[in-house]
């Protein structure tokens, strides 16, 4: 049994429960794949073989004893290096935290441990999750398994590449403006950004607190639902996590799509930046949903083009505030021989942060500074309400909204690094979802010139189960999600 990488997490979990193989065998097999293949990808910042093997043995004992075995006990995963892991370096892709050993676990980390899951290591990412290509990481860019000259997307680029290359059965990501969905699209995997407040942000290093949300990145919608079952849930340590009854995200996966109303926002298909091949694949996916019993409705999101401008005020403003904690005093990078306190602050931050993080801190600082607050921050918050109102209106006419995840397939490494605004435009279809706090996901829906295309599904607040149902039914009828890049087959 060395073909674990061709199995879904659900299949691995079922085999473990039936004792067809052990978690130790599965974990060793993935650690071997990481060792032999990740040199091509750079998708991991830290691999943790010792603790992984120990966790696998513990999971095997738990399964043998029949005690508290959960749906994913013994299944290995890759953890985005933004989630704190006690005793393991948590770098956030930054020189600022290059040697930071987290003193506590994120709630998500703890939940996975409690469920008996096995962490293989921590994945590469854009610095502090700020980027759309994984090129801002201080640990170097991640390469896309479908074409090693291209980016995997970002900021959860390491997680997306690791899952696409099947060197991990699934991974975690975080999404502030598209950072789960866009890399999922560019790498041809399934990723879901849950409703704001569904997953605890405790111990998830903060970028923009009113937008950040963690979620699963997996091969199938079924796997994503199983992982979300573990990740989601209210947490007293995160006052923005929403108190709701525990739900089973797999409960309606098998429901037929008969009667489903699928909204197609006209603004998502008319823009100049949309690659026609991406548009064609999304229309073909919509036609497939119609074959499965759904009906299409045209809807309008008139303010959607204002989402990126509003986001690039809101997110930098929150980032400038959140990242003020990195001061060279209590943890993280400290400059050599500071001559006074101001020098300590300015040089530690100047040397510890990369260029994109500095740009965003400065934009946020400017937008919040005296005299500019109303023109930038307050206006952005008003536009944010307009964007949310657009979705509310659209959802009176449909159950889910469908569109592209990214306007193009994966671009070349270095192609957009000189022009921040061009890079920002690659999140044109994802950002509005964060501003409105809605759940959104990306699933593979085709290829253009050998590169995967992502289909975005947007749902009502806390309607993840229905989105996953749509994705699962689509994946029962298609096999885009099951394809592997040749080099990693």
């Amino acid at each position: 049994m060395s073909k674990f990488h061709t199995m879904t997490a659900a299949h691995v979990a079922a085999g473990l429960r039936k004792r067809e193989f052990s978690s130790l065998e599965v974990t060793r097999s993935f650690l071997d794949r990481i060792a032999s293949l990740d040199g091509h990808l750079n998708s991991f910042i830290t691999v943790t073989p010792e603790s992984a093997l120990a966790a696998a043995k513990a999971a095997d004992a738990r399964i043998a004893g029949g005690e508290a075995v959960t749906a994913l006990t013994g299944v290995p995963y890759a953890h985005k290096d933004i989630f704190c892991t006690k005793g393991v370096r948590t770098s956030c892709g930054s020189r600022m935290l290059e040697n930071f050993i987290a003193p506590y676990d994120a709630t998500v980390t703890r939940r996975f441990q409690d469920a008996g899951m096995v962490m293989l290591g921590k994945t590469n990412m854009d610095e502090f999750a700020m980027g759309s290509s994984n090129e801002t990481s201080c640990f170097g860019p991640v390469r896309n398994p479908w074409d090693l000259q291209r980016v995997p997307g970002g900021s959860s680029g390491g997680s997306a590449a690791a899952v696409a290359a099947r060197i991990a059965p699934f991974a975690t990501g975080t999404d502030t403006g598209g950072s789960i969905r866009q890399p999922a699209a560019l790498c041809g995997i399934t990723g879901i950004k849950p409703t704001y407040g569904a997953v605890s942000r405790f111990g998830m290093i903060a970028f923009a607190s009113s937008l950040d949300q963690g979620g699963p990145m997996a091969v199938t919608a079924e796997d994503a639902a199983l992982v979300l079952n573990v990740m989601a849930g209210s947490d007293p340590r995160d006052s923005t996590s929403v108190e709701r009854d525990k739900e089973d995200y797999t409960r309606v996966l098998g429901d037929p799509l008969r009667g489903l109303r699928v909204g197609m926002p006209k603004e998502f298909f008319g823009s100049d930046g949309l690659d026609p091949k991406v548009g064609d694949a999304v229309h073909a996916a919509a036609a497939e949903l119609v074959r499965l019993g759904a009906s299409l409705v045209e809807v309008s999101l008139p303010n959607s083009e204002l989402s990126i401008p509003a986001y690039y005020v809101v997110a930098p403003a929150e980032c400038s505030s959140n990242l003020s904690r990195f001061d060279g005093v209590r943890f993280g990078y400290r400059c050599k021989d500071p001559k006074d306190l101001m020098d300590l602050f300015c040089r530690s931050r100047g040397e510890g942060f990369g260029a994109e993080v500095k740009r965003r801190i400065m934009i946020g600082t400017y937008a919040l500074s005296a005299g500019y607050y109303d023109a930038y921050y307050l206006q952005a918050l008003k536009v944010r309400r307009l964007i949310r109102n657009d979705f509310d209106a659209a959802f009176t006419r449909c159950d889910v909204i469908l569109g592209p995840t990214s306007p193009t397939t994966a671009f070349r490494i270095g192609e957009k690094t000189d022009d921040p605004v061009t890079m920002y435009l690659s999140d044109i279809y994802t950002i509005a979802v964060n501003l409105a706090g809605l759940p959104g996901m990306s699933i593979p829906c085709g290829f253009a010139d050998g590169l995967p295309i992502g289909l975005q599904i947007i749902g009502r607040h806390f309607d993840e189960a229905r989105m996953l149902n749509v994705a699962h039914q689509y994946q029962q009828a298609t096999d885009w999600h099951a394809r592997l890049p040749a080099q990693f087959a």
Binding site: I308, P309, I361, S369, L378, R384, R385, L386
Partner: protein
């Protein structure tokens, strides 16, 4: 909005970020581009629109006023760049 060299220096100071002389023109151009892009949102009609600071218009959840944390000073200070006798060390503030 086009930012001058002085604007960039002022913002960098407010943000406590050291940037070098050579980096200033690049930041001035990039930040000006970003701000020009952001100003597209001025075209939105927002008169009478309530600002939305949070995805849900619900009050922050309160918890019981009880002690839930334990003192972990040694653990927390074990990752600090410089500590002595339980105190964080910084350069001399008062001459």
């Amino acid at each position: 909005m086009s930012l001058s060299r002085q604007d960039v220096e002022k913002i960098a100071h407010l943000a406590r970020l050291q940037i070098t002389e050579e980096q200033i023109p690049g930041f001035a151009a990039q930040l000006s581009n970003i701000l020009a892009f952001v100003e597209q949102m001025n075209s939105a009609r927002t008169a009478g629109v309530e600002p939305m600071a949070h995805p849900f218009d619900t009050p922050t959840r309160m918890r019981d006023d009880v002690v839930t944390e334990i003192n972990e000073r040694e653990v927390m200070q074990s990752i600090a760049p410089a500590v002595e006798a339980g105190l964080y060390l910084v350069p001399k503030v008062i001459e």
